[in-house]
């Protein structure tokens, strides 16, 4: 569906629909928390992605139609084959019957089996990654402090940036 549409917004929101379906899949697996978090995160991410699309190509409602498809026939054939193979696999595999019963909190179980004792390490790592992203954006901007105040931060700003809401 994502590749059928000729407007960026439609493609983005079709992708969001697909991801919401993934969220529902996870919910059906009994992982409530993960499923709802997928819905939450993906919605916000796709809305932001759409904004970036518009920033870099301002064609509201796809005024200049664009195509995201190439090699149509090959792609159609390939996707049909893959779908049939997957469906056949799902239907023909002898699934094992369930052993044991559902744990009281599947989310916790999943976290334990994925991370083991390294949960805290991974959380710290996540924060460090986030800080890196923010720092790289700050360094990349052309209107940072060093550009406006000079290398020793003692100059007068050449071009005052837009005022924020806090008195300075």
């Amino acid at each position: 569906m994502v590749f059928r549409f000729d407007s960026m917004a439609r493609a983005t929101y079709a992708l969001l629909l697909a991801l919401l379906c993934v969220g529902v899949d996870v919910l059906l697996l009994g992982l409530d928390y993960l499923g709802v978090v997928v819905v939450l995160m993906m919605t916000i991410e796709m809305a932001l992605m759409a904004a970036f699309m518009v920033m870099f190509m301002m064609n509201p409602a796809g005024l200049a139609p664009m195509s995201m498809t190439h090699n149509r026939r090959g792609a159609a054939l390939l996707s049909a084959v893959v779908f049939v193979a997957l469906a056949a696999g799902a239907l023909l595999t002898p699934w094992p019957s369930r052993r044991g019963d559902v744990p009281p909190d599947p989310t916790r179980q999943l976290g334990r089996s994925l991370m083991g004792g390294q949960m805290l390490t991974m959380m710290v790592l996540g924060l460090a990654l986030f800080a890196t992203i923010v720092a790289s954006v700050v360094l990349a901007t052309r209107r940072g402090r060093y550009d406006r105040f000079g290398d020793d931060l003692r100059g007068r700003p050449a071009e005052p940036a837009a005022r924020g809401g806090l008195p300075r």
């Binding site: 917004a9 969001l16 939450l40 759409a50 518009v54 509201p60």
Partner: protein, 314 residues
């Protein structure tokens, strides 16, 4: 642990929410009219002013939707319809007294996810009509989301942390003695601010600002407009109502039955927000983003830390 409501409650819920939204809109219309044209001249005039939202509903039903060139009509309609639907779905986890339509183990996260859906819907409405002014409105709403969403999430987290559970019923049960608002005042105030932001109304009505000729809604006529603006009121009622189980003790209270307490508290919060609208001007995001990130996020984080330490100390 809240009890589940009977099945018919799920059918009644959208209508009840719409009725509550209409009442809130009527009160707001009364206040707006007396600010614009002075006090009402007699009871009949007052009733007529209060009926403004009803009249607008009838009017918009009868009108034809407008089409603009090269518009993405399907996306616009979808976006406008998502707003009230998200409000109703978020309302499903809201306990009425001690009963809610559904009380999943992750009710708080569910609520937040539905708000995010409304977020995406509003952006779509701004994008769809192929009109510059409405797209500026959509931009503004995204910027607004970036400003309020993080403090909002921390405020929600704080309440869940105090109850040690993401289930809304457990959050209410944890407040049988002391309401959370007493020892989480910062989170409560931030939550109210973001409730206004979420329903893009009042001080956070910039995406539908008068300076861009009602922004996101600039090209909407007829039922689409009704869905967006009515959905906005439904969102406001839902977010205001959700502050009651989160911070104000839900149905807990002396003398009165639980449902009456819920009604009373929700009405009080709504009255507070609607009155605040008359005092507070519309916030521009270039002036709000900085306080939101530099002041509110640290404050909510400190609040969460305080609550976490208090919970560990129990």
């Amino acid at each position: 642990m809240a009890e589940a409501a009977p099945l018919w409650a799920a059918v009644v819920l959208p209508f009840a929410l719409a009725a509550a939204a209409c009442c809130a809109a009527s009160v707001d219309a009364l206040l707006a009219a007396s600010a614009r044209c002075g006090p009402a001249r007699g009871a009949r005039d007052a009733v007529s002013r209060a009926a403004t939202p009803l009249r607008a509903t009838v009017r918009l039903f009868a009108r034809r939707p407008r089409r603009t060139t090269a518009a993405d009509t399907a996306l616009t309609r979808l976006g406008a319809a998502v707003v009230p639907v998200a409000a109703v779905l978020a309302c499903a986890v809201l306990p009425w007294g001690f009963t809610s339509v559904t009380d999943p183990t992750v009710g708080v996260v569910w609520f937040n996810a539905m708000e995010a859906l409304a977020w995406a819907g509003v952006w779509l409405v701004g994008w769809g009509p192929n009109s510059t002014l409405s797209m500026i409105g959509g931009y503004r709403f995204l910027a607004q989301g970036l400003a309020y969403e993080l403090p909002h999430m921390f405020a929600l987290t704080t309440a869940a942390l105090g109850a040690e559970s993401l289930r809304v019923g457990d959050v209410v049960a944890a407040q049988s003695g002391l309401w959370f608002v007493v020892w989480m005042p910062v989170a409560f105030v931030v939550y109210l601010l973001s409730a206004l932001g979420m329903s893009f109304w009042g001080p956070f009505g910039h995406p539908l600002g008068r300076d861009i000729a009602s922004g996101v809604a600039v090209e909407l006529g007829g039922v689409d407009r009704l869905l967006l603006l009515g959905g906005r009121w439904m969102l406001l009622v839902t977010t205001a109502g959700f502050s009651v189980p989160l911070f104000l003790g839900g149905g807990h209270g002396p003398l009165l039955p639980a449902w009456a307490w819920t009604l009373l508290k929700t009405g009080a919060v709504l009255a507070l927000l609607v009155t605040a609208r008359r005092v507070l001007p519309t916030a521009r995001m270039d002036r709000y983003l900085e306080p939101a990130w530099m002041v509110l996020i640290p404050l909510t984080l400190a609040q969460a830390l305080f609550v976490a330490v208090a919970v560990l100390d129990r």
